[in-house]
Amino acid sequence: MTDVAIPQTSRKDWASDQEVRWCPGCGDYSILSAVQLLLPELGVRRENTVFISGIGCAARFPYYMNTYGMHSIHGRAPAIATGLAVSRPDLDVWVVTGDGDSLSIGGNHLMHALRRNVKLTILMFNNQIYGLTKGQYSPTSEVGKITKSTPFGSLDTPFNPVSLALGAEATFVARTHDLDRKHMIETFRRAHDHPGASFVEVYQNCNVFNDGAFGAINSKEARADMLIPLEHGKPIRFGASGEHGVVSDAQGRLHVVEVKDVGEDALLVHDEQRADPGLAFALSRLATGPHEPTPIGVFRAVERPDYGTLVDRQLVQASERAGPGNLASLLRSGATWSYD
């Protein structure tokens, strides 16, 4: 099969015949487009591509992809995808999830998929709200959020998904947003090509229940001054003419500065490959929420053997050591005795 050239495909080859049923204006549409535009460029086959999701608005995603797919149960997509990816290393397995699905009910599975470094591309649509259940606050909603379930304001501190993924030993962590198709495509490409678990937080607008949650940073007008593009090996700076930058103080704390005040040489140079996740973590804490200058792009991309490869290596080693499994010998592996 590998000898046969991978057929050229276009976006429509990757779209299923299902009518897309997200609310008009939902940010999910542009994420779907970005994925469908990217896939023809990846040199992969439709039949070897699988999208697994849990429950929530984002979880409808697999139905719209003309690939193999499973719309599973709430929070469990990373666990199900782990079983698939580990037993079928030949497949390209994507997980599409939301903030409630992956950080609330399924937090445990996300953490462990990242820790194990299972070969999965995990796209987490973060809209900071429960959309499918019609507007309760989510584990990424800001404190004080007024929703149907929190009429007097939510009380719990939100998760920072990038910090969480880094803390869970993720080898690839990135952030993008639904208003920048090009940035999404490039970020998803990097995530797909990463040889291990990759986690991408996608800021996604829910125009019905949490409209404009990211407007302060990603609207056309705000973007230049509020989004900090991370580029490996380059000084971290932003603004229409690169007038803002990020520096690290003696204690390793990061600060947003004006480049003219500190000079270009003082700027922090991004290193996504640093073994120690400290820099990536500090960058993830630069903004306390999507109302302050916020880094986007790849925070961390380091290589560590993926779990499935390690599993297969043990299978090969076991076969080399003990010979391929033989059922009749296995049954006689303990003490045996015979009667005529």
């Binding site: 992809m65 193999y68 719309h71 666990a79 199900i80 995808a81 079983g83 079928r88 003490a335 009667y339």
Partner: protein, 650 residues
Amino acid sequence: MTTESKTQSEPGRVETIDQVVIRFAGDSGDGMQIAGDRFTDESALIGNDLSTFPNYPAEIRAPAGTLAGVSAFQIHISDHEILTPGDAPNVLVAMNPAALRANLADLPHGGILVINSDAFDERDLAKAGYTENPLNDGSLSAYRVYEIAMTSLTVEACKPAGAKPRDAERSKNFFALGLLSWLYHRPIVETEGWIAKRYGRVPLVVEANTLAFRAGYNLGETTEIFESSYEIAPAEHYPGTYTNVTGNVALAWGLLAAAHLAKLPLFLGSYPITPASDILHELSKHKNFGVRTLQAEDEIAGIGAALGAAFGGALGVTTTSGPGLDLKAETVGLAVSLELPLLIVDIQRGGPSTGLPTKTEQSDLLHAMFGRHGEAPVPIVAAKTPSHCFEAAIEAARIALRYRTPVYLLSDGYLANGSEPWRLPDVESLPDISVEFATETNATAADGEAAFWPYLRDPATLARPWAVPGTPGLEHRIGGLEKRDGSGAIAYEPGNHETMVHLRAAKIAGIAKDLAPVEADDPSGDARVLMLGWGSTFAAITAGVKRVRKSGRAVAQLHLVHVNPFPPNLGNVLRSYEVVVVPENNLGHLTRLVRSDFLVDAKVMSKVQGTPFRVGEIEKAIHEEIDRLEKQDVDRPDGPRARNGKESAL
């Protein structure tokens, strides 16, 4: 213990007996399970029939010397076919006061009591709750007591090895094993070889254990403590090769066999839980079979990963027990909706909640049957003996694969840890359970293009096609939402939902067409009472039925392996007996099912003590039922012999 030799015992005398039940009991740190396991292997080598029952506490190291920390291993060995580990021991080995106190009530008067007298000091007596030392107060006068200073004799024996006394003491289980090995003429060379292999990494331990083992053996040989020693001849066996297996090992091997017979890779997703973990351990040893074992982050991930692997074309399995079963319920429902093959192996233990983690129970049957939201039928296969776990695993896999359905395979703590000799099957004779993956499109889309409909069913089995990722042209999406019959597209129409609910139910019910009709074991054909069972009660029911028949009375027996769906003719069989009694280690799960399915007046015989039925309990219950029927005949000589009687059935 039946003594064939009736002559007066004299020192050095060897008596031949037909069977004996020995219970090794000590603190959970005393190594009683190891001693029992080794005694089992020695007995298997002789060719005795045997059955074992380990009984240990949930705490890994309960406070030493307390009743809570007592661990016991019972073994029944004989020169004829036996089925159970024995109702009561003939011999009790008690390594400390707590072991004596916790087990003495089970030892019949006249039984042999081998006691480690060194452990009966004031402190340990107090921990066991004794105010008087039972060795001195005459309370053991009804037994044949052998007080042996096992700890100090072990320490003394280990001196040449240079072990410190505190360390040397730990070998006293081998001292006890050596003594019992002498008493029952067990082979010892193999045990010495086993010690060398098992503890080979620590030469000092090998030497200490070997010295202690020999010292125990020699004590019996050279002193006149025991009036007799005992021989038990090999049992008659069907020709063949045998090995001794526990239920968990047989089940793990059954899973490997099932994958081999299905020509599929095996994937186990599991979270450690007692008493199921040994299946994970066993399968993890055999990676050369290509088995992938994932110790998941939780029970939910264990079954989720197994289901993901099944989507990819593997034989997906998850193993669990107790609370783990509850956690998996949601994913089982998804598997019902996805119609993918999946095995859920449940090693039942006492509940509710954490319950009795190390004790056996059969109280998950109704959970397996009904424990999901929505109409979500799932087949159930139940293993009946430790070695039968092998066959049951293959059968459960066969059903899962053929019908594309999750299947519950029920075992329990008694089967899992209990062992018995197993006549090894000829691997070549095992059934082919392989199924075909879909490779071709099977429908035409509205636009005239060839299409793949994931829910277009096989008319014979109602199973849907299993098309695995990687198959070109069959790309499709499945999910937990209701889908349209045939195309599998999301569909919420009321009529379609009703169709799908009935189709899923009919598919599972239709499995009965594959099952052989059952026949009650009723040699004389005169039985009025049928003993109906499922799972691990098989041994006790069978042995109880045999005893009743020996007494000249007729009783029938039927044991179910397929609990959902039932075998096709079960109702007729049940209706042909006046009384159906169902011994169950629960409050009546199977009883409820057969009553509701067949309107038969089945009655439960319940036991929920964390231990299996004793043969005597079954025997007594059967006699009582027959007595009751006979009394009824006398009271109403002209009355109908039975509402469900055979006459009326004719």
